[in-house]
């Protein structure tokens, strides 16, 4: 199947042309799938396909605005299809679901080799026209790699040993001063957002300043990330001083950035609020900035109770714990409205806020794809200085 065949501009959709042929035998269906693959991207339309016997077949996704589940219809023989809008540049993670009698089964699209991974499993990926994996997110042989190594820190605040992974950039030297980036859900950023590869590439290309990065994994994420005092104390009063003592860091707030996605965004913001002036910047990706304007019914379940309590309190009395915030959010995720709503609140405090959206969801590859925007804005590389 050629990319052109899959992505040609729409006239009549391929699936409709197939329907009009009447009865479909297995050979015709096989040729059709071999030619088009799945999903079929035609202009700003995506057609999902499935082959097999079932009572129902549905596309499961979490795209706000589209019906979920998206029912598939039998085209003929054992071929099922569903077509939906897919604006340019979109990227959607999905699975298929079948019902056979009372038995439901969810699985990745067997006709689509493109898969994304996360801590809760994998999903199929549907990429619209205009989306491609950024070149800087892929390994390159010419890129000088940084070094990643494990450390364990005895934390009085957390009353446990806290493992972290430390990243030192290529060409690390003690004669330089480096910014410090602390990443919540650090292991997942490395595993699912290719963050070491991204850092290596962006630093090599001079897009981002060489920096030292502490990747910090949680132990009990739902407890530690939504405004938890011991966690904030560990980050601000234990981790930062320890790293400042051991490494040639820029020893001021402007050189320190806290980063996180989803609940990790709340952990970043709440830590900064508890320790204003320690950090200069926040990098918040799809932060779980859920709030209520009245009452306590937020719809997020008990896990979000402390989040909503924190965000409501912040909204009632906004402060400027940092100078700059870079925020990103996917337009297809439920958190898009809270994130959009918080931009003017943050700005009202005098903080400089850069906010970007992407036609993507609440997932690691979306967060990966926004890393260059955020890191190059927060800590620009020496490109301005280099004239070869």
């Amino acid at each position: 199947m050629s990319a052109n065949a899959r992505r040609r501009a729409p006239g009549r959709l391929a699936i409709n042309r197939l329907r009009e042929r009447g009865e479909l035998d297995a050979a015709v269906i096989e040729r059709f799938i071999a030619r088009h693959g799945s999903p079929i991207i035609e202009g700003e339309r995506a057609t999902f396909l499935f082959r097999g016997e079932a009572d129902e077949v549905r596309v499961r996704h979490r795209v706000v605005g589209l019906p979920d589940p998206l029912p598939m219809r039998r085209v003929g023989g054992d071929l099922w299809a569903a077509t939906t809008d897919l604006p340019q540049g979109s990227r959607v993670e999905y699975q298929l679901e079948t019902r056979r009698g009372d038995h439901y089964e969810r699985f990745n699209d067997p006709l689509n080799p493109r898969v994304a991974h996360s801590p809760v499993g994998s999903s199929s990926v549907c990429a619209a026209i205009g989306y491609s994996v950024p070149d800087w997110a892929l390994p390159h042989a010419e890129t000088r790699p940084g070094e990643l190594f494990d450390e364990v820190i005895r934390s009085k605040a957390l009353r446990r040993d806290q493992p972290i992974k430390l990243y030192l950039p290529a060409r690390f030297t003690r004669a330089a001063r480096y910014p410090l980036l602390i990443v919540h859900d650090g292991t997942d950023y490395l595993g699912y957002a290719a963050m070491k590869t991204v850092l290596d590439n962006l630093i090599h290309r001079l897009d981002v300043a060489p920096m030292i990065v502490a990747f910090v994994p949680p132990r009990d994420r739902l407890r530690e990330y939504p405004n938890y005092a011991p966690h904030a104390r560990f980050i601000a009063r234990e981790l930062v001083p320890l790293l400042t003592e051991r490494f040639p860091l820029q020893d001021n707030a402007a050189g320190r950035t806290l980063m996180g996605s989803s609940f990790g965004g709340i952990a970043s913001l709440s830590t900064a609020v508890r320790y204003p002036g320690v950090f200069g910047s926040l990098f918040l990706q799809s932060a779980s900035l859920v709030f209520t304007d009245i009452g306590t019914e937020h719809g997020g379940g008990p896990a979000f109770d402390p989040v909503v309590k924190f965000v409501n309190r912040y909204r009632a009395k906004p402060s400027a714990p940092v100078d700059r915030i870079f925020m990103s959010c996917g337009t297809y995720e439920p958190l898009i409205t809270p994130n959009r709503s918080m931009v003017p609140v943050f700005r009202s405090t005098g903080m400089t806020v850069k906010y970007v959206e992407a036609r993507d969801g609440h997932n690691w590859e979306d967060w990966r794809d926004r890393l260059r925007d955020g890191l190059s804005w927060l800590h620009p590389g020496p490109q301005l200085f280099v004239y070869e």
């Binding site: 060409r171 004669a175 962006l202 001021n252 925007d373 804005w377 620009p380 280099v386």
Partner: protein, 317 residues
Amino acid sequence: MGASPRHTLSFTMRTLLLGPQRFQTTATTALRSLGVEGPVATINSGWEEREDQVGELDAALDHRAVHLRLHHRMLDVIDKDPAFSAHALAFRDRHDDLLAAYRLRLHHAIDGVYAVQRRSTSAPTFGGVDDAIDGVRAVDRWYLTQLRALYDDLAEVAPLDSSGVIGWHRGEIAAVLGRASALIMPGGNVGTLLRTLRLFAIEIPESLPVIAWSAGAMALTERVVLFHDYGPEGARETEVFDAGLGRVKGVVALPHARRRLRLEDKVRCSVLARRFLERHCVLLDDGTALDLEADGSLPAGARILGIDGAIHEVRPR
């Protein structure tokens, strides 16, 4: 840096500014055109840790190069003179703080220029654009004044003469330059290049012919200006960075202009030219070869940005 006795007779100062050498190597021809013999010194400290990877450079210079290795020497100073090194690092921290404050002020000042500029297309602005540009120039002046004060502070607490290590390196550098028939200054990181030039108090004798390109060309000017319209964050505002060696007069050097500047954006180019009104913003693209006048000014035919935002050529005097 000591002047070479070989160059004290009557001479015409020769300075050649070239376009970037990566895709179009003109350094060989330029060197031969000088008609000098013997070793040529190079300052390629802008290459930083790649300073010793000089195979291609050696070939382009007919294998006559003697490399001054200023970056290597700077690391040696940092290693062997911890007291000076500590002062230098403290200076760099203060310079970073100053740069951060400058960028903040510059960003708001330049936004003001573009806002008034946009309005000027539909309503009278009563000279508001020029006045707003004057505001940007005032921010540039403030930054350079503060930077000079930082250098003065550094010189007071850590004078170059107080470091035996620096003194030793300066002796070696002077000896190499004294034997050189020309000096070659390639590109690289202009910040690092300037830092090493300053650390070893490099002064290029007027009698010594110089060929420079990219960051090397910038370092020869009186005022080094940083620019990049195509970074990952889009156009970053042009910044004044530091004073250069001042051998090239009345010039803001813009290497890689086509690759780094939105030359089709006349408004932006016009603001750039008007901001540095007392100097020519000269474009140093691939293939450029400017043999400067004896007083260090631009020759006829050099391509410069006009205050109308268009590209012009310097007229014959």
